[in-house]
C-alpha cells in the first residue's frame, strides 16, 4: 500500500508540476521520507501536497485567462500590424465616409466587411463590398508588407488603415482583372478609367 501510494503521489506531483522536474524529485523524496514518519509529519505532508495542488490549479486558471484572451483574438487570424477587434464601423458607415472624400483627401478608418475577391496570384489586394451598394472598396496593404491567404474569399474581416479615392487607369484596371483571374473577354471590356474607393490597410483581422 505504501509503495502504491508513493507511486500515485509521485505521478500526481509530476503531473502538477510538469516541467519542474527538479522540484518534483526533491519534493517527492521528501514526502516519501515523511510517509515513514509520525502522524504530525504526515499531516504536514498532506498540507504541502494540498497547497501544491491548489497552486497548480491556480496556475491553470491563469493560463485559462490567457486562453480566454487568446480565444477572443484567436477567433481571428491577424495580418500586418496587430489591431484590436473593437471600435470598428460597418462597411456601410465606411462607405458614407467615402462619400465625403475628394481626390487627395485621406482619412483613417477601421471597418468590418467580408472579402468579395482576393488577388488570386499573391493575395496582395482584396475587394470588400461597400455596405449594401454594388461598389467595392479596394484594399491594398501598407508597403506591400503583408498578403492575405489565397483562399480567403467570403471571410469576414476587420481592416484598419487609410481611406482615399483615386482614379484608376484602364491599364491598371486590366492588370487587377488579370490578377483576379478574369477571362480575356472580360478584360477586353475594360475601356474606361474608374474612380476607386481605395484603402491602404496597416492591419487586418480575418475571422476563422
Amino acid at each position: 500500500m505504501n509503495c502504491l501510494l508513493r507511486r500515485v503521489q509521485s505521478y500526481a506531483i509530476k503531473f502538477v508540476f510538469l516541467e519542474k522536474w527538479r522540484a518534483v524529485f526533491i519534493l517527492n523524496n521528501y514526502l516519501c521520507f515523511v510517509l515513514k514518519s509520525d502522524i504530525q509529519m504526515k499531516k504536514f505532508m498532506m498540507i504541502m501536497v494540498l497547497s501544491a495542488a491548489m497552486f497548480a490549479c491556480k496556475t491553470n486558471k491563469e493560463d485559462k485567462k490567457t486562453d480566454a484572451k487568446e480565444t477572443v483574438a484567436s477567433n481571428y487570424n491577424s495580418f500586418g500590424d496587430e489591431i484590436s477587434e473593437k471600435d470598428y464601423m460597418s462597411s456601410a458607415d465606411a462607405y458614407a465616409k467615402y462619400q465625403t472624400l475628394k481626390a487627395g483627401d485621406t482619412i483613417r478608418l477601421k471597418f468590418a466587411s467580408s472579402i468579395e475577391e482576393v488577388c488570386s496570384k499573391k493575395g496582395c489586394w482584396m475587394k470588400l463590398p461597400a455596405g449594401e451598394t454594388n461598389e467595392t472598396i479596394m484594399v491594398r496593404f501598407k508597403d506591400y508588407g503583408f498578403f492575405m491567404p489565397l483562399d480567403s474569399n467570403g471571410k469576414e474581416v476587420i481592416v484598419e488603415g487609410k481611406a482615399f479615392v483615386k482614379e484608376v487607369s484602364v491599364d491598371e484596371l486590366k492588370h487587377y482583372a488579370e490578377d483576379a483571374g478574369k477571362s480575356a473577354e472580360e478584360i477586353a471590356k475594360i475601356t474606361a478609367p474608374k474612380m476607386e474607393l481605395a484603402f491602404e490597410a496597416n492591419g487586418v483581422l480575418m475571422k476563422k
Binding site: M1, L5, V8, Q9, A12, F15, V16, I39, K42, K43, M45, M46, V49, L50, A53, M54, A56, C57, N60, K64, D67, N77, K121, K122, G123, C124, W125, R140, D143, Y144, G145, F147, P149, L150, D151, S152, D171, E172, H175, Y176, E200, K208
Partner: protein, 140 residues
C-alpha cells in the same frame, strides 16, 4: 484515514486540473510562398535603402552587388511575366545601378534616382503593387 484523504485530495487535483487539454487543430491558411524573384526583390529593396542612406550621409556606396544578376534567372511569381520587355528593363536597371557605383559624388543622387525609376517603370508593366513602396526609395 490520512492516506485515504491524501489519495482523495490527489484525485480531486487530477480531475480539477485536467481540463481544456483538447484544442482544435487550427486550419491552415493557403498563403502564397515567396518566389525566388520576390525574395531577390525584397533584398534589393533593403540594399537600395542602405545605398540611399549612404548617399544621404555623404558616403560613397562601394561594390556592385553581383547577386543582382540573378534577376535574369530567378523564378517569378508568374513565370509568364518574364518577357523580352522584362529582360530590357532588367538590363536598364543593372546598368543604372552600375553607374551609381562608378559615378562621381555630385551625380550620385541622380544616378540612384534613375535606378529606382527604372524599377518603377518595369513594375508599371508587370506588378503594380510594390510601386508605392519603391517610390519611397527616391531621394528628394
Amino acid at each position: 484515514m490520512n492516506r485515504l484523504f491524501f489519495v482523495f485530495v490527489l484525485l480531486i487535483s487530477f480531475s480539477s486540473c485536467k481540463t481544456d487539454d483538447k484544442k482544435e487543430a487550427p486550419k491552415e491558411l493557403i498563403m502564397r510562398e515567396q518566389s525566388e524573384m520576390a525574395v531577390l526583390m525584397n533584398k534589393m529593396f533593403d540594399e537600395n535603402e542602405k545605398i540611399k542612406r549612404e548617399i544621404l550621409n555623404g558616403e560613397i556606396p562601394q561594390g556592385f552587388p553581383d547577386h543582382y544578376l540573378k534577376i535574369h534567372s530567378a523564378t517569378l511569381t508568374d513565370p509568364t511575366d518574364r518577357t523580352p520587355q522584362f529582360k530590357v528593363f532588367s538590363d536598364v536597371y543593372l546598368k543604372n545601378l552600375k553607374d551609381v557605383f562608378e559615378t562621381n559624388e555630385e551625380s550620385l543622387k541622380n544616378k540612384f534616382n534613375a535606378t529606382i525609376n527604372s524599377c518603377i517603370a518595369c513594375h508599371q508593366t508587370t506588378c503594380l503593387g510594390p510601386i508605392p513602396r519603391i517610390k519611397k526609395l527616391l531621394i528628394k
